[in-house]
């Protein structure tokens, strides 16, 4: 039976949004409602109803800047410090100014936020300095609410299409994208005046300790396709060496989650049940102390709730076992872990790229523009540090509004038809082989080497070996990978994105010869932070088919940060009695 379709479908649109998780739906919605006559297409590898990091909703906003509780200036300062000063503040400041308006809009969509008895937003403190965490009592309904709005606005939704490469015009502007259907392998060429990349984190980069390829912190559909496409499309990527590493429930590999339980009185503890970090907010410095505690013999590290009142724990369970990762309740139940009696064992996650939590992403300005004209990026894959879900919504909105205006002023960029032919050959190569290496083995081997050689602490010699191994896997991937049906082809394309990301992680890390962001970029051969030479961005891009890096100056701060404040995130460890 021939499972392969030879057909090539074509479509045109003003704005093409790739990725229907969090930022994507908001970008498409904003573009379409700003110009209802325009064609706005939302392309999604899974199904927009249940795709992305928030497929089961979210328990709250981690970075809400709400008048009366926090100011945009204070938030911008906090994120600048949390990210060790490596931050173009303009996009962060823009986010901080606009996010309250987005909260109110989400409220109108039917998503409720916790309010106190006076009707004011009940914001909690989790960060070092400011107060930004706002619980969402019906957070499980987020995707449904978004989907309703997309249907109402008549955004054109194409599910089960995986974008594989961007099309660039003769004039270097964006020209569209090429996609393949994950059920039929049908090819789709979309000409677009503007493209917004919203493909999420590179969450399938390191291998979870369990060895289960899909047991990741991020939704494993977020396999770094956006990073790979941006790279091959000629866009600059920033600070990829600032890995995402998270403190997670061991084995389950999901959040425990201290942001929810912390405000109720839970905290991170060592095997003596004692606190060892000042603050549970996820930062590289916090992860380094977490790692040090594990190495010191005082591990495992736990999330401690067993000192809380029964009703309080009931309230926490009602959130944690219903939203975001509801199966964690099932995980604990099977092991007999009752929060009332036992602490929850935690561990250091595998590495990934994600600007939602750290700062590794496609370089963007305050209008979500990448370095390719007409190409935008928003959400976890765009380099706006510590951006979380509300950042994805807000910067998705910024991107959608800007892209639809630009699309009204430009025509389609002309591109070379040969690019489509070449891409078709590349994509379908694994389907033309009778036998060979299946994608799951290519992926497993790549990700195991990511763990063996790239997981911090970073050692230069190990990184060089990793580059050799990745080169060998690339030969296998390009010359011997086999896919027997469209589903395996989907996995084969993802394996290719994963290998691209692994090589980018190695190259960017080797370029920055200092240590920064705590554990995220702890280089054993360059253990000190070097502000004189490295208080700058690392930019990675493709030049003449080869990966290159360069320094880029940080834009002058919009919000001044004094030296004393800069040190706040470096004082993480609680002094222990001798």
């Amino acid at each position: 039976m021939n499972v392969w379709s030879d057909e090539i479908a074509q479509a045109d649109c003003e704005v093409l949004v790739i990725g229907g998780g969090t930022a994507g739906p908001m970008a498409a919605y904003k573009a379409k409602t700003k110009n209802p006559g325009a064609r706005v297409v939302l392309l999604e590898k899974a199904n927009v109803k249940r795709s992305g990091a928030i497929c089961m909703g979210m328990d709250g906003l981690n970075n809400a800047v709400i008048p009366g509780h926090a100011t945009p200036e204070q938030y911008t300062r906090e994120i600048t410090i949390a990210n060790d000063g490596i931050c173009d503040q303009a996009p962060v400041y823009k986010y901080a100014q606009r996010c309250f308006e987005i909260i109110q809009e989400l409220d109108r969509f039917g998503i409720r936020f916790l309010k106190d008895e006076t009707g004011d937003y009940d914001v909690k403190k989790v960060h070092h300095n400011g107060t930004y965490v706002l619980p969402m009592p019906n957070g499980d309904t987020v995707k449904k609410a978004l989907y309703r709005q997309l249907r109402r606005a008549q955004v054109l939704i194409s599910n089960r299409y995986m974008a594989t490469r961007l099309l660039t015009g003769h004039d270097s502007r964006i020209a569209g994208a090429i996609a393949v259907n994950t059920r039929t392998a049908q090819f789709l060429v979309i000409r677009a005046k503007t493209v917004i990349l919203c493909l999420g984190a590179a969450g399938r980069l390191g291998l979870p300790h369990s060895g289960y390829l899909f047991g990741t912190y991020e939704n494993p559909a977020n396999s770094g396709d956006g990073y790979a496409m941006a790279y091959h499309g000629g866009a600059a990527l920033a600070n990829l060496e600032c890995f995402q590493i998270n403190p997670l429930i061991k084995d389950y590999n999901g959040p425990a989650c201290a942001y929810v339980a912390g405000p109720f009185g839970a905290y991170t503890a060592n095997n003596e049940g004692r606190r060892f970090i000042e603050c549970d907010y996820w930062s590289g410095q916090m992860m380094l102390e977490f790692y040090n505690e594990l190495q010191s013999g005082k591990g495992p590290v736990f999330l401690k709730l067993d000192h809380l009142a029964g009703e309080t724990i009931g309230e926490i369970e009602n959130i944690l076992h219903r939203v975001e990762r509801p199966s964690r309740g099932r995980f604990h139940e099977r092991r007999g872990t009752n929060y009332r009696e036992r602490m929850v064992e935690m561990h250091v996650s595998e590495i990934g790229f994600c600007s939602g939590h750290s700062a590794s992403g496609v370089f963007v300005d305050e209008f979500a523009r990448t370095t390719v004209p007409g190409l935008y990026a928003a959400g976890d894959m765009a380099n706006v540090p510590h951006n979380y879900m509300l950042g994805a919504f807000t910067n998705g909105a910024v991107a959608g509004e800007h892209a639809i205006d630009l699309a009204a002023q430009v025509d389609f960029a002309a591109f070379d038809d040969g690019d489509v032919t070449l891409e078709r050959e590349r994509v379908l190569a694994p389907t033309r082989r009778e036998d060979g290496i299946p994608p799951n083995q290519i992926e497993y081997k790549t990700r195991r080497f990511v763990n063996d050689y790239l997981q911090p602490p970073k050692v230069t010699r190990k990184y060089r070996i990793a580059q050799e191994r990745f080169g060998e896997i690339r030969e296998d991937l390009e010359g011997a990978m086999v896919a027997r049906d469209p589903h395996e082809l989907l996995r084969a394309l993802e394996a290719s994105s994963i290998l691209d990301c692994a090589e980018m992680a190695a190259t960017a890390s080797l370029f920055r010869t200092e240590s920064r962001w705590g554990l995220y970029h702890y280089r054993v051969d360059h253990p000190e932070r070097d502000d004189l030479n490295w208080r700058c961005h690392t930019i990675l891009y493709k030049v003449d088919g080869v990966m290159a890096c360069e320094k880029r100056a940080i834009a002058p701060y919009v919000v001044p940060v004094d030296d004393r404040e800069q040190a706040a995130y470096r004082r993480q460890r609680i002094p222990q009695p001798a």
């Binding site: 899974a46 199904n47 939704n219 559909a221 990762r325 509801p326 099932r330 092991r335």
Partner: protein, 77 residues
């Protein structure tokens, strides 16, 4: 290099007595973020074809008849 068939125990279970895929329902197959569910040509019921699960639970939550159960994958339990 012929390919082997290595068995794995799958985390998503479908109660065939409750599943109405044979009456045209495709909800779980439509929404799975990892696209690992299919309808069996043999039984007409939904089943987990690929062991590539994020144990995220939309299939169980959205099933109109409560036929789907998501377990934690064995390697993680």
């Amino acid at each position: 290099m012929p390919l082997a068939h290595s068995p794995t125990t799958v985390p998503v279970l479908v109660d065939e007595a409750k599943c109405i895929a044979d009456k045209g329902c495709t909800v779980c197959v439509d929404i799975c973020p990892l696209d690992v569910l299919r309808i069996s040509e043999l039984t007409g019921k939904a089943y987990m074809k690929y062991d590539e699960c994020w144990y995220c639970m939309p299939c169980e939550t959205d099933c109109p008849t409560g036929a789907v159960t998501v377990n934690i994958p064995y390697l993680l339990r």
